[in-house]
């Protein structure tokens, strides 16, 4: 072994020892952790949990929130009010307790310039916040959703406020019948949400763009959307349908009758996957819940359904013809793109429905049907190629048959010459 290698080895050993000493000192400096790790149950748990806490990892330890002097070994002294020790905040104090830092724009910039600092202001507008101000300590505060010790970033998949965990977190209180009894509010939201299109997308398919509770109700400022705000809430993700509804003949009567806009047809927590059967005058249709037979609305509902069904039927015929041509191996080319335009027309029509203006809808449907008919025509022309090919081959077969007959005659002649030389 060369001298240089030996020296490098010694230096590495010394560096390791030095790092060990520094780590030990850092642990020893925080007497809060040192003592609480020796304790049991509730007094030990925070010390165990804090290791993964985002604050702790950024250098804010127990004293960062609770005050006191973590350098003091004597508990009396380290947890002395004279050293700024505030102990465990009461539920009413928690929002402002967290807000000491989280509402301080300058301070928060050092850690995460992107993080909003209006959580407390938002919270005060929430139903939770308002009730807390009135002295109801059963409502959710910051720690109800984020946890107290071991707080994770919201982007951490293990965090209770990570998108896919939000429904479960909210349901921990809102699905609790005993807890919700004094407020006289339903506890079925979570079960309804699980069956909804949003719930299935978010929880089963892990589609993070699907709506969770906070997308409609807000997070820190959580409250039920007002009757006239429903379209606004839904429209955050479905802007086109919102804009169409805004100009629809339903807008005003709904407002007058205090009907909750989108929710009237689609429901709220249990928003089922939209179906074309919602439309029209069948038993499943939502239109007939308000529009009685013989009324103008009833007839218009039926017309919407008929138009949409016609577009779907023609598009399906076009799709089948394109598929037939493609499977047969004849040139389809741009017809497939045109078919996509027909399928888009169905999607656009389904959206256009939300304006409930029959003339606009009819124009769109007729445009789609014209495209579908062109696709059908183009596919039929492509399929004619098969016939042309077939005719060509039949002609060739006839020529070959003629050649066979000629050859057979020649063979017969040869045979007769052989027999009668």
């Amino acid at each position: 072994m060369s001298r240089r290698v030996r020296i490098a080895g010694k230096v590495s050993q010394m560096a390791l020892v030095l790092v060990g000493i520094l780590v030990f000192r850092a642990e020893a400096d925080d007497t809060c952790l040192e003592c609480h790790l020796q304790l049991e149950d509730n007094l030990q748990a925070p010390a165990l949990q804090i290791k993964t806490d985002v604050h702790y990892q950024r250098g804010i330890s127990c004293a960062g929130c609770h005050g006191g002097d973590p350098a003091e070994v004597d508990p009396e002294s380290s947890m002395s009010p004279s050293k700024g020790f505030v102990g465990t905040p009461k539920p009413q104090q928690i929002p402002s307790f967290c807000a000491r830092c989280h509402s301080d724009v300058e301070y928060m910039k050092h850690y995460n310039p992107k993080l909003p600092t209006d959580q407390l202001a938002q919270y005060k507008t929430s139903v939770h916040g308002k009730r807390l101000t009135k002295g109801d300590t059963q409502v959710a505060t910051c720690i109800s959703c984020h946890g107290a010790h071991g707080i994770l970033r919201a982007s951490d998949t293990r965090s209770p406020v990570f998108k896919t965990n939000i429904p479960k977190t909210c349901s921990s209180c809102h699905a609790d019948q005993k807890r919700m009894a004094p407020y006289k509010i339903s506890t079925s939201q979570y079960n309804d949400y699980l069956q909804s299109v949003h719930g299935k997308l978010l929880l089963e398919k892990k589609e993070l763009s699907a709506a969770a509770c906070t997308d409609c109700h807000g997070n820190h400022g959580a409250s039920p959307p007002g009757l006239s705000d429903v379209a606004g809430a839904c429209g955050e993700c479905h802007p086109s349908n919102r804009d169409l509804f805004e100009k629809s003949p339903h807008k005003e009567p709904f407002q007058k009758a205090r009907l909750p806009q989108c929710v009237v047809c689609h429901g709220n927590h249990k928003v089922l996957p939209p179906s074309d059967e919602f439309l029209g005058v069948s038993e499943e249709a939502v239109c007939v819940r308000c529009h009685r037979p013989g009324s103008k609305g009833y007839e218009i509902s039926a017309s919407f359904k008929t138009l949409l069904d016609s577009l779907k039927a023609v598009t399906e015929e076009a799709r089948q013809l394109v598929k037939k041509a493609e499977v047969a191996g004849v040139k389809v080319g741009l017809t497939k793109f045109d078919l996509k335009a027909c399928e888009d027309a169905i999607v656009r029509s389904r959206s256009e429905l939300h304006s409930f203006i029959l003339t606009d809808f009819r124009t769109l449907v007729q445009d789609g049907m014209a495209k579908a008919k062109r696709v059908k025509q183009a596919s039929l022309v492509s399929l004619e190629d098969l016939e042309i090919r077939r005719k060509g081959l039949i002609f060739s077969a006839a020529l070959i048959l003629l050649l066979c007959v000629t050859l057979w005659i020649k063979i017969r002649k040869l045979d007769s010459r052989k027999e009668n030389p």
């Binding site: 493609e326 499977v327 047969a328 191996g329 004849v330 040139k331 389809v332 080319g333 098969l386 090919r389 077939r390 060509g392 081959l393 039949i394 060739s396 077969a397 070959i400 048959l401 050649l403 066979c404 050859l407 057979w408 020649k410 063979i411 040869l414 045979d415 052989k418």
Partner: protein, 359 residues
């Protein structure tokens, strides 16, 4: 005619063609009531020639990857001039070649053409049949469509059932645990390089043996002192040519009535479509395996079936060595057994097509 005479003269001055011409003039072929079956060999050869010609044309555009195979066949069928015709002829001719091979093999079997001294002709012919089946199996996957994909999956699964070597054979065929782009690439390699090279060699050997030993005459007619024959040229050649033309006619009629389809592109993640079945020439085996119970005694039914086919195939190949006295009592039993085999194959193939999907 003067042009041909001039060419013949020019070549004759450089190469002595007289022995060859004398041989052709002197050569004759037996003529009897079963001599029609002689032409099935020529028809098979004709289909093979069509396969080579159309295969080379397809090779100009075909791309052997999972991403491009289907699209390249689609391009051949829609954009390449007469590409649809070339592809349709290739697909139909493949099936007809195997059909003609079966007919040729059974005609040779029932006419006892395998008897001494033509054992080697039989062995080489049997080998050609296996090569043709391998051609069919490997070529079926190449368009990378849904049916082909799942048929290959089922076919290679069966290979994987064989004890000891089965799994290794399956992995070798697939190029991995699953049917994938790697399978397509190696099947392409088998189809256009390994199999054609082997087939050409064995086919030449088979033809050479036929030419050297002449056509076999059925034992019942062999001893007839008034046996007739026809000159090889032009009488037999013209009849052979007529056979080729009829084969071409059949090919064209089938291609025009039932143009070979492109199908839907394979999607390995999609569930297997109902009623998946292999090409017709494997169907009797597939149907048998389907009807076998899950376990026979304590051995998996499919394994018993696969082994039975392997043993049956081996015995069939070794018939010339087993049937030492083709005209005797044992020889008659062998012929009867042959008819049972034909009936079984036909019945199970029909059953395979009639069997309800998904059962």
């Amino acid at each position: 005619m003067r042009f041909f005479s001039a060419v013949y003269g020019w070549v004759g001055e450089r190469l002595n063609l007289t022995p060859l011409v004398d041989l052709i003039k002197k050569k004759s072929v037996p003529a009897h009531r079963h001599s029609l079956w002689y032409y099935t060999g020529g028809m098979t050869l004709f289909f093979f020639a069509v396969q080579v010609a159309t295969g080379i044309l397809l090779l100009l555009y075909y791309r052997p990857t999972a991403e491009a195979a289907y699209e390249s066949v689609q391009f051949i069928m829609t954009e390449v001039k007469f590409g649809w015709l070339v592809r349709s002829l290739h697909s139909w001719s493949a099936n007809l070649m195997i059909g003609a091979l079966f007919v040729h093999m059974f005609s040779a079997f029932f006419m006892k053409a395998y008897r001494k001294p033509r054992e080697l002709t039989w062995f080489s012919g049997a080998f050609i049949l296996f090569l043709a089946l391998a051609f069919g199996f490997s070529g079926y996957l190449l368009p990378w469509n849904k049916l082909a994909y799942f048929a290959t999956k089922v076919g290679t699964d069966i290979a994987g059932e064989v004890p000891l070597l089965g799994h290794s054979v399956m992995v070798f065929l697939r190029g991995g645990e699953e049917v994938s782009g790697a399978t397509l690439t190696r099947f392409f390699g088998f189809h256009v390089a390994i199999l054609p090279a082997t087939a050409t060699f064995v086919l030449l050997l088979h033809l050479l043996l036929v030419q050297v030993q002449g056509m076999s005459v059925p034992p019942a007619l062999e001893k007839n002192p008034n046996r007739k024959s026809i000159p090889f040229f032009p009488h037999f050649i013209l009849r052979d040519l007529l056979g080729w033309l009829l084969a071409l006619l059949l090919l064209v009629v089938l291609a025009s009535i039932f143009p070979w389809e492109l199908g839907e592109k394979a999607d390995p993640l999609a569930p297997a479509p109902a009623g998946i079945r292999p090409e017709w020439y494997f169907l009797f085996m597939f149907q048998t395996l389907k009807l076998l119970p899950a376990e026979i005694w304590f051995v998996p039914g499919e394994l018993v079936g696969a082994l039975a086919f392997a043993v049956g195939g081996l015995l069939w190949v070794l018939i010339p060595l087993l049937d030492k006295n083709p005209t005797g009592r044992w020889g008659h039993w062998v012929s009867r057994l042959g008819w049972v085999v034909v009936a079984y194959m036909v019945a199970f193939t029909i059953l395979g097509y009639l069997w309800p999907a998904g059962k």
